[in-house]
Symmetry: C2
Subunit: 136 residues, 2 copies
């Protein structure tokens, strides 16, 4: 099957530097962080506003791509499961999915809470959180 190339559009700036010490999920004590976008995608940010809830996709470049089964939450007491039934960073395509709130925006720099990705993580995409049609 074809392969495709992802091109980062920015990078995470965070006080978190050690993947082993980072929270596993955003609601487990993750800090505020900054999404620093490349100048080339400035137009893509038009309409993104402070207070918005967004989904950020990242490339977890420290993850292992050859791992198909893991102990959930890295706890060997948990029986191994397939990575598609977990949020393990290790998976064939290590794309991180983060739902965040925008705190403030200054040009290409978007402040968000709360993000468990470590400093330097490449950003692939930003999408608005959708409200179901039934609630519009």
């Amino acid at each position: 099957m074809n392969q495709f190339e992802v091109r980062p559009v920015g990078v995470v700036e965070s006080a978190l530097t050690d993947p082993a010490g980072a929270p596993k999920q955003a609601d487990e004590g993750a800090p505020e962080a900054t999404l620093a976008f490349d100048p080339g995608v400035l137009d893509a940010l038009d309409g993104v506003r402070a207070g918005d809830r967004i989904i950020v996709l990242t490339w977890l470049d420290r993850a292992r791509r050859d791992v198909l089964r893991v102990h959930p939450r890295d706890d060997v007491a948990n029986p191994q499961r397939g990575v598609f039934s977990t949020r393990s960073a290790d998976r064939p395509n290590p794309i991180g999915l983060h739902e965040l709130e925008i705190v403030s925006i200054d040009g290409l720099r978007v402040r968000v809470r709360a993000l468990e990705a470590v400093d330097g993580t490449p950003i692939l995409d930003v999408k608005p959180v959708l409200v179901p049609a039934t609630a519009r």
Copy 2:
């Protein structure tokens, strides 16, 4: 900045074949579809069950990557906005995000509802929908 290679782990099988005629979101009349996974990722599906709600990431290989601003919902009456504030398929990294329910599983074939991606769309990843820690 570095680029990274995504490797599809399967493909969408759907009655939808025309992107122009496909629903824009799953809750706008999208049909059931089948996720047909490659044999090499069978172990990654361990623990994925009928009835689960999952997030599927796809590669929208018919999208344009050079588009940074769009008329939302392809309606020229809507003022142009940056793609990061919309769910447009056209965006620098055209990764589709779909929240689905698993209807049934037969080995490498996972039946889901409802999916707006067209037949042949490459699948990149599957993740469980997380329940917030506050609700655990």
